[in-house]
């Protein structure tokens, strides 16, 4: 079943999801469509969930049986879409696989709340969360995780480990943007709209916008999951280099024939289930 799912999804990603994302629909409609689709992409699990105010930000906390620690996870969605609920499949499967509680804050999204609302929210959550914890995020959430990581390292409060899925690391304007050629899911127009909504008048040169420009002294071990030939593969490679240069151990896994952020399909996709296992193994290996 799950391998069949992977084949079908390659098709629907190209011919359904991508054309929809390319449409300049109102953000509310994109959000609803994404929320609907997110439910179909994963197998929802029954596991203890509570919502809690953490540093002023409502945060979804999923607890596996006998939790052994905590993971702060920042969800993706181009800073515009997505929520702890759309990413419940990913976070809940990851919680059960790793044995960690996963905390997913509902940070403020663009365009209503442009940068720096999201990184500010994430920072408040990190300051209020019980320590120590692991840190991770997917896509735009990977950007927020890296921004937080750079701040935390400067403050001398390194997380236990870092787990990233196809992070957005560079929001600077690019003249020669030839990246979208082999991308299955993300149309260039969508990326531009998200960037514009998030940055509003900023140019992306702040390291809290483009963490590829940040410093990562004393970075803990990093696990990085990318999709081969996705639009964000060069972003992933760039940050891997940057983190390695800072002295971090970086495990890189590039999965062929999968769309951007495919681990969201945990429970339905064989490839996603394997990604969950790799991430869980990384998290377990860096438990104190």
């Amino acid at each position: 079943m799950s391998q069949v799912f992977d084949r079908i999804r390659r098709f629907t990603t190209r011919y359904v999801d991508r054309p929809i994302l390319a449409l300049p629909l109102p953000v509310g409609i994109h959000r609803s469509l994404f929320a609907l689709q997110a439910k179909l992409m994963t197998t929802e699990v029954e596991v203890a969930v509570r919502w809690q105010d953490v540093g002023g930000v409502p945060t979804r906390i999923v607890s596996p049986p006998r939790p052994k620690g905590r993971l702060l996870w920042l969800h993706g969605g181009g800073f515009v879409l997505g929520s702890p609920d759309t990413h419940a499949g990913l976070t809940d499967h990851l919680a059960l696989a790793s044995g960690l509680e996963v905390w997913t804050p509902r940070y403020r999204r663009a365009p209503e709340h442009p940068w720096p609302a999201a990184p500010d929210d994430v920072r408040s959550v990190a300051q209020a969360m019980p320590r120590p914890f692991h840190l991770g995020g997917d896509s735009a959430g990977g950007n927020l995780a890296l921004v937080l990581l750079a701040q935390a390292l400067t403050d001398g409060r390194a997380p236990l480990s870092v787990t990233l899925i196809s992070p957005v690391v560079d929001l600077r304007e690019r003249q020669d943007d030839s990246r979208t050629d082999a991308e299955m899911l993300l149309p260039r127009a969508f990326l531009h709209r998200c960037r514009a909504a998030y940055l509003r008048d900023a140019d992306g040169r702040d390291r809290r916008q483009s963490p590829v420009l940040a410093e990562f002294p004393g970075c803990p071990p990093v696990h990085l999951e990318l999709s081969a030939r996705e639009v964000l593969e060069p972003d992933g490679m760039a940050i891997a280099e940057r983190l390695e240069a800072a002295g971090a151990t970086v495990h890189l896994h590039v999965e062929p024939k999968t769309p951007h952020d495919y681990p969201l399909c945990a429970g339905r996709s064989s490839a996603a289930d394997m990604a969950i296992l790799r991430m869980a193994k990384h998290l377990e290996a860096h438990q104190p």
């Binding site: 079943m1 799950s2 391998q3 197998t43 929802e44 699990v45 029954e46 596991v47 596996p64 049986p65 006998r66 809940d92 499967h93 059960l96 696989a97 044995g99 945990a266 429970g267 339905r268 064989s270 289930d273 394997m274 969950i276 296992l277 869980a280």
Partner: protein
């Protein structure tokens, strides 16, 4: 190869016998009495003494020979022993040795001990044929003490609200497991006929179970307020439950870890109670066999095989006709979770 995979089932050429075959054969060694493993129509059956009564009850007058756990039996050129699998009373893993090479067929198994089945015993082998019904990391079972507390709290709350608590549980194994987990001082336990028939067989062979009362047409439901009703899951959906009036329904199954399965079943409560190994259990069991070759049979076989390969095992998927933890397939009519949740 000590064992081969044929159309009829798992075959041992040196002993000319099959293990849990799904087509009629001359000689069948059976791991346990669940319908997808113990099928009708074989000429000779061999199973543990503890599994025998249930098999006779389900399959009728079969030519069945019993064997004790650990007892050595030479069949042709193969040496065969049965070892506890911790799945249901009498359930076994079957160890087959030929010229110093050892293969083990797990049947269905659960590594964590309960108060019902003979506890699982790891068996060293060169090749291990394992189920992986719950071969995804989301399947992570709670300790029995916590599950017991969940069941008892639910039952007590129902009782306090003047309701019956009705739980769907497979009639061989799961139903009795639930009976050993609840606190019988909360109220009476009523059972569906399919469950009580199995209870009678197990009690007769000395399995200790709390008292239970069979629900019949004459059962006066008003005389048993706040009872716990145990029935196959499919009975909860039908008209059988109607006479009990106000009822809170729950289902006990590993599949309750998946929200969609509980919703489709329209059960108010899902109790994640399984008689199969969870993800960790599967991994622990495989490691403890010391096997280099692992064959995955029913369950999330594709993902599980990939995972084992990454862990350095020589792993393969074997197509079988076992059904995994069908919620209640063999009890009444086949009504397993949809393929999205069962098999890959």
């Amino acid at each position: 190869m000590v064992l081969e995979f044929k159309d009829e089932g798992i075959y041992c050429p040196s002993g000319d016998f099959y293990i849990d075959p799904w087509r009629p054969v001359e000689r069948a060694l059976i791991t346990h009495g669940h319908a997808d493993h113990a099928r009708w129509g074989h000429r000779y059956y061999l199973a543990t003494e503890a599994a025998g009564p249930v098999m006779r009850h389900r399959l009728g007058d079969i030519a069945l020979d019993g064997i004790a756990f650990g007892e050595k039996r030479q069949i042709g050129d193969a040496i065969v022993t049965f070892h506890p699998a911790g799945h249901v009373p009498g359930s076994a893993q079957i160890r087959v040795e030929h010229r110093g090479e050892v293969w083990v067929v797990s049947g269905d198994y659960k590594t964590v001990a309960d108060r019902l089945s003979e506890p699982f015993e790891p068996v060293r082998c060169h090749a291990f044929i394992t189920e992986c019904t719950f071969g995804l990391p989301v399947f992570d079972w709670e300790d029995d003490a916590i599950l017991s507390a969940q069941l008892n709290t639910w039952w007590q709350t129902c009782r306090d609200n003047g309701q019956h608590a009705a739980i769907g549980a497979y009639s061989l194994g799961k139903a009795q497991r639930v009976m050993t987990m609840v606190d019988p001082s909360i109220g009476p336990i009523l059972t569906h006929g399919a469950v009580e028939n199995t209870n009678e067989v197990l009690r007769a062979q000395g399995v200790p179970l709390p008292a239970s009362v069979r629900v019949t047409r004459d059962t006066d439901v008003k005389a048993t307020p706040g009872a716990l009703i145990i029935a196959p899951p499919s009975a909860l959906a039908g008209s059988w439950l109607r006479k009990f009036g106000s009822v809170s329904t729950g289902i006990a199954s590993g599949w309750m870890r998946l929200r969609g399965v509980r919703r489709r079943r329209a059960a108010e409560r899902g109790f994640v109670i399984s008689d199969h190994a969870d993800w960790r259990g599967l991994n622990d069991a495989i490691r403890e066999t010391g096997a280099e070759r692992v064959f995955a049979t029913h369950g999330y076989t594709a993902t599980f095989k990939d995972w084992l390969t990454e862990q350095g095992y020589d792993a393969a998927v074997v197509e079988t006709e076992y059904e995994g933890d069908a919620l209640d397939a063999a009890d009444t009519d086949a009504d397993a979770p949809t393929e999205a949740e069962t098999v890959t």
